[in-house]
């Protein structure tokens, strides 16, 4: 089972296992992880599932769609070059071991 790691703003990290086809957001909310709100339930509308991707992984993620790009302009914490919406990142076996950082705030 692939697993990914979320790093909280205070440096604490949490490893989360992914069941088949889940997005990073779905795995996080299923595990009750603090720091991902996902108010729109993964419908790419709220930008409250914002994460920063670890540099080493950034290039290995699928490209972002225009709607994700537009939504990222509205995140509560600053947008960085490594910003993505975790609901738009499906975790495939190739992404096993992905490390993402949580922003200070989602709203």
């Amino acid at each position: 089972m692939p697993a990914i790691t979320f790093i909280h703003p205070d440096g604490k990290s949490e490893r989360v296992e992914i069941s088949g086809g889940e997005s990073a957001m779905e795995a996080a909310t299923r595990h009750g992880l603090d720091g991902i709100l996902a108010e729109c339930g993964g419908n790419a509308m709220c930008a409250t599932c914002h994460v920063y991707i670890d540099d080493a992984w950034l290039a290995r993620l699928p490209d972002m769609a225009d709607d994700e790009d537009a939504l990222l302009d509205g995140t509560a914490a600053e947008r960085r070059p490594t910003s993505r919406l975790s609901c738009q990142i499906k975790i495939t076996p190739a992404l096993d071991g992905l490390v993402v950082k949580l922003p200070e705030r989602q709203v």
Partner: protein, 406 residues
Amino acid sequence: MTASGSPVSTGSVSVPHLDVDPFDMNFFADPYPTHQRLREAGPVVYLDTWNVYGVARYAEVHAVLSDPATFCSSRGVGLSDFKKETPWRPPSLILEADPPAHTRTRAVLSKVLSPTVMKQVRDRFAAAAEERVDALLDKRSFDAIAELAEAYPLSIFPDALGLKPEGREHLIPYASVVFNAFGPPNELRQEAIARSAPHQAYVAEQCQRDNLAPGGFGAGIHACVDDGEITAAEAPLLVRSLLSAGLDTTVNGIGAAVYCLARFPDQWQRLRGDHSLARNAFEEAVRFESPVQTFFRTTTRDVELSGAQIGEGEKVLMFLAAANRDPRRWDKPDSYDITRRTFGHVGFGSGIHMCVGQLVARLEGEVMLTALAQRIAKIEISGEPKRRFNNTLRGLDSLPVTITPA
């Protein structure tokens, strides 16, 4: 309210027939026992009063919301089937549309109501909430529906949309017609439509480009015509969607939150202790009270849902409110808990038709509850709350309260 006859078998799972009328005044007065009955009867039920299928459990409501190709919206999200009946007004280009038509109009509204736009209006909305609460503190005793739940959205939303000052008194009555019209041809619906002409005329007029102030949400929709995203004929109908769905819903959402916090003082104290819970306290009120109680879909083909066979062209009534309190999904569903993980509730729907104005609603709810928690020590209900009856919306007509300053 008894099960009529024996369950009729229509496939691998029999669909129980119930003579429940979910659009009846007695039901509206206290829907919870019936919600439980509907959930316990089976994953899919049949309501003989209106000849429709019904789903009241979380899993099935969510499944219907997630499959817009099978459970379509273009034949109307009320009881009326647009394939067989003429709608009372031209259909909404977003609510009553399916992909691919829906995709384009949805994108326009998402852009106009995006997180970026919310950042721009946030300070203004928060300042208005603080002003409102300060005014209420001078009065101490007031009606929390008229003077808070209605007055606050009315003080910001029409301006944010770019409406003229004249005629705004039509806004809430117009929305109430729209939401009553999703119901069956009962008295509520018939009366609402019968007196709708002046409200419809006002709304049609305000949707025109020249009548919308620059910089507002309405002008933002019309600007999409210039970019070729929608046609000039579509823009006014999309503005209409904001006028139909953007005010009465937040009035009921804020009303629900105040009603909850007044009834559950322990939760109020929690919020007082940590103002950052305001957003979740609002969200939990939307789950707990479900201001939008129901919506219909229509099947586009024969389909099996949790073992039940449903034919093509059938109306399926989704009990959003019952799903939001389904014990199969929620721990202690009947308690209002502002620290609950509300993720996944269907108070705003789910999937491609999920409320496009959800960010506005949450922003209004959050800043209002924050302003209340900062300034008020106690909210007490000081008179008998009165319910307002509507075929789709659940809320109060009046809620007398007395507040104590912090």
